[in-house]
Symmetry: C2
Subunit: 139 residues, 2 copies
DNA sequence: TTATTTGCAAACGGTTTGCCGATTA
DNA sequence: TAATCGGCAAACCGTTTGCAAATAA
């Protein structure tokens, strides 16, 4: 049973054949496609139809939204137009402005600083989005 | 002459009547609508047509893209679907998850930390996007 | 004059939705 | 069985674009 399938059970999300396939593809996405994998709905649909070619893209849309609302996935809009998804986890992204490659990172210092800033402005920090855009240093 | 109109001159952007009106509305947007003003194209079009009701929304789209490419405006996709614009300036945003209100802030510490992180990952920091999401602390 | 810009309406692309038969718990 | 879900195709909505007339330099 895939990671996401388990989370569905936890949260009482009904599991259908289609959802199981989508959950499986998402759960395996990083392992198979590497760390910079943030598939959009179209890409997801392509991968899913390899397993079951009856699954419609409407179902992928509905499922991905469902998973997002359940806190299982997070949705990114790195560039408007196409949303991209990955399993929920609080890391940040560095985007290579030349190749489009995405590097993930976490940094406790930044996280603490953010909390402090929000407090200073009179808010409790609930969530954050940090994207760095950079170009590779050649050596 | 509005702030943006001046920048257009600098960058050699041809100034038409329509662009002057749009530049004016954008330049005045913060003063009139307050610090949380990040109008979308539709809102911009509404404000612009008060001055000249012949200006089409296609022109607003084209102009806003032009200004963005000239580095005069920045485009935000706080939530996908509708882009929002403001005069270019490197501050960050804190978004009230309850009211949608947007608070702007700058923080040198965070900026330095970001630069350091990018370096550590082998990149030169070119740009960044930081959005905090929080809920107001009641007192 | 000549390259550029505008308004209009149609096209576009990602996403959502109504309908209704199929499936899950 | 009752509630929910999935497939299909049409609708939706923000944005872009081709065209011919208008305009800036």
């Amino acid at each position: 049973m895939s990671l996401i399938e388990e989370k569905c059970k936890e949260k009482g999300v009904r599991l259908t054949d289609q959802r199981k396939v989508i959950a499986k593809v998402l759960s395996e996405s990083k392992e198979i496609y590497g760390s910079k994998d943030h598939p959009d709905v179209d890409e997801l649909h392509k991968r899913v139809t390899v397993i079951d070619d009856k699954i419609s893209i409407a179902t992928v849309y509905r499922t991905v939204k469902l998973f997002e609302e359940a806190g299982i996935l997070i949705k990114h809009d790195f560039k408007a137009g196409k949303a991209r998804y990955e399993i929920s986890d609080n890391h940040n992204h560095l985007i290579d402005i030349n190749s489009g490659e995405i590097v993930e990172f976490v940094d406790k210092d930044i996280e603490n600083l953010q909390k402090k800033i929000a407090q200073k402005l009179g808010y409790n920090l609930v969530d954050h989005k940090l994207e760095l855009y950079g170009s590779k240093i050649k050596k």
